[in-house]
Assembly symmetry: C2
Homo-oligomer: 387 residues x 2
């Protein structure tokens, strides 16, 4: 694990969890879908129509009491899009992410949150709760829980650089949602917490779940539809190797501008080609086939070609990583981070070095690289304090 | 199994086979891909560029001698597109298909084929070998084998109605390819025979493999790319139930006109939606989830909406089949056949009857229905005669 080149890096161990949804437990999954369908039809009749001003519908039958005084949660970085999986596929990676500590705070008006502290953001994030990813997700989680009797304060410790294409906003939101839920005994499932995260994402980078869902749930998550919201966890078989090499250049790609670069009309033949590559990507994930995963991830003919020229050096980074044995390489999220995949740990150093060199020589950008496994757990509580 | 309403129906038992490729044997699969890549780069540098006038490159190292005097093969009907899998996904179904008998014939010029007999086509198919699906595929298989010393005659028995959307041309081609290959001891794999079938398909309905590949290989097949040709067998888990209810109206939808109905430019949001549904379709197949398979298959927002109005009654057929418990329903191939899916055999009769009624009442079309399981085998030899 090479982290020394990455600014603001956080590391946390990530083993197997007993979280049912990410293991595709069908009985539980079905029960949840019913609830989500009911919820989503009232909340979000189509993508983008989430009412940002109205509170979320309460999912609990009665307001739960806090069972902890403090809960600290970690949520991992996510690689969304994965080439042809644009806007509907993402995965969580170990070793990078954000921490949020939620506390019951008598100094805060009941039903409200305040942001108590933010570190690791170089002073760039707002302390206004409804202008802060963690604040919005924390408040939205309180709405889902139906919390009206206590106020909470949140402390955010950013491990992820902003605007890096690694789901920085989603990680803050996911950590806040899990921490707030934990204070009340975690009555909501991670799938239910996706609603709180979606509200936060809608404010920051558009109504899309391909970062927030994997950051919460772990593994690969396919967003099949938004109305109703239907999330499908895709389990990469344990026992199969998969390494993500992330090269993060010192260059901020604003998510909204990168979205604008994507063509609004697609030729049929490109549509069909990308669809078949997305289908192959799913087959690769479920089959644990890292080579096919890399090939499919590198085969996007729509979004990557439009965005790649906006990230200096990206085209060279892709070519050079694959010359060093990466099965494929593409832009992580909306960039500028480049992600390459391999199942051979011994190649990761050469792949990472070639990517850093690519950014430097062809993009005149300083960059660092790090190597990550899939985070199967997603967001989780790492510390708690009883009353 | 209800077949009485279907004209020209053929039935053949279809059990488990030991065919390696359709079982995803990765070692063999990798070896084949190398060969196919080599082959495809010389034969077809991009979709549609297959040279219809030039012979296919020989894949054998030496011309094989015939080991049989006669071989009769059956190839199953196929359901292509499957909604969002437009042009890259198809599957083979049991109980419907074409037969081709290939014979070593001293009366035929060495290296050539002739069409000796055609039944079940109401006199509509050509006896000119290079204007007949079975003839083109038979001749192309001889080219792949390198046959120059003997001539062959082919007899075609059509079980599939023409222009029905069930891969009629592909079934004839697949049966011819398997029968000719069998005469020489079957040195070519089914994946290699796809090249012969593709040449035939290119003449009849465009250069696409989503019927010919599953008709040859069985099961579900994902066509990831054409240049190089990369076919991915998707194994629906044995032990999971899946029934296809096919309603075939008396209405011929010409494949080329149905292709023209498909929009050439796709809005980004529709592209993303269809991609995510195609991805879900693959997850459903590999997970043996018939409900999700049906939901995804019924969720195409691009091709089905464009073609459905051209098939009288189709919209009603879809709605009525789902009211009777089908998980989903869409157009099979380019139509006019409608395909509905369920995992509950007890519902198939009501689903089929509702589809027939839908075509009659809303489309003023007579129709029949039949119920089919997945054909895991694909094309196979059913009869042979030694010298």
């Amino acid at each position: 694990m090479e982290l020394s080149h990455v600014r603001h890096s956080s590391w946390i161990p990530d083993g197997e969890s007993s979280f049912l949804s990410s293991k595709c437990d069908h009985k539980r999954f079905t029960r949840l879908r019913v609830k989500l369908v009911r919820c989503s039809t009232t909340l979000a009749s189509s993508p983008g129509t989430l009412d940002l001003l109205s509170p979320l519908e309460q999912l609990t039958t009665a307001e739960p009491r806090p069972v902890l005084k403090l809960a600290k949660a970690f949520a991992p970085a996510t690689v969304a899009n994965l080439g042809p999986g644009y806007d509907f596929l993402g995965c969580a990676v170990q070793g990078l992410g954000d921490f949020v500590t939620a506390e019951v705070d008598e100094g805060v008006e009941p039903g409200k949150v305040r942001i108590k502290n933010i570190t690791g953001d170089s002073g760039r994030l707002s302390y206004e709760p409804l202008k802060n990813c963690a604040g919005i997700a924390g408040k939205s989680t309180m709405e889902l829980l139906g919390i009206k009797s206590v106020g909470l304060s949140l402390s955010l410790s950013k491990g992820l650089p902003l605007g890096s294409g690694l789901g920085s906003s989603a990680a803050s939101a996911a950590a806040a949602a899990v921490a707030v839920n934990a204070l009340f005994g975690s009555p909501l499932s991670k799938m239910e917490l996706v609603y709180a995260g979606l509200k936060s994402e809608a404010v920051v980078s558009g109504y899309h779940a391909d970062n927030i869902a994997p950051s919460l749930m772990g593994g690969f998550v396919l967003v099949r539809s938004y109305a109703p919201l239907h999330l499908i966890p895709l389990v990469f078989p344990s026992g199969k190797q998969l390494f993500f090499v992330l090269a993060i250049p010192e260059f901020e790609a604003p998510t909204k501008e990168m979205r604008k670069a994507v063509p609004q009309m697609i030729e049929l033949k490109r549509h069909t080609a990308n669809c078949s590559q997305a289908a192959a990507l799913v087959a690769a994930i479920l089959g644990g086939n890292a080579a096919l995963l890399g090939e499919a991830l590198a085969s996007d003919t729509i979004v990557e070609p439009a965005r790649s020229p906006m990230i200096p050096g990206m085209a060279a980074v892709k070519i050079q990583s694959m010359k060093q044995g990466a099965y494929g390489c593409t832009i992580s999220g909306a960039g500028p981070t480049a992600v390459a995949v391999t199942d051979d740990e011994s190649k990761t150093e050469a792949i990472g070095a070639s990517m850093v060199l690519g950014f430097r020589e062809h993009g005149n950008l300083r960059a660092g690289y790090s190597v990550h496994k899939l985070s199967k757990d997603g967001a989780k509580v790492v510390e708690s304090l009883d009353f």
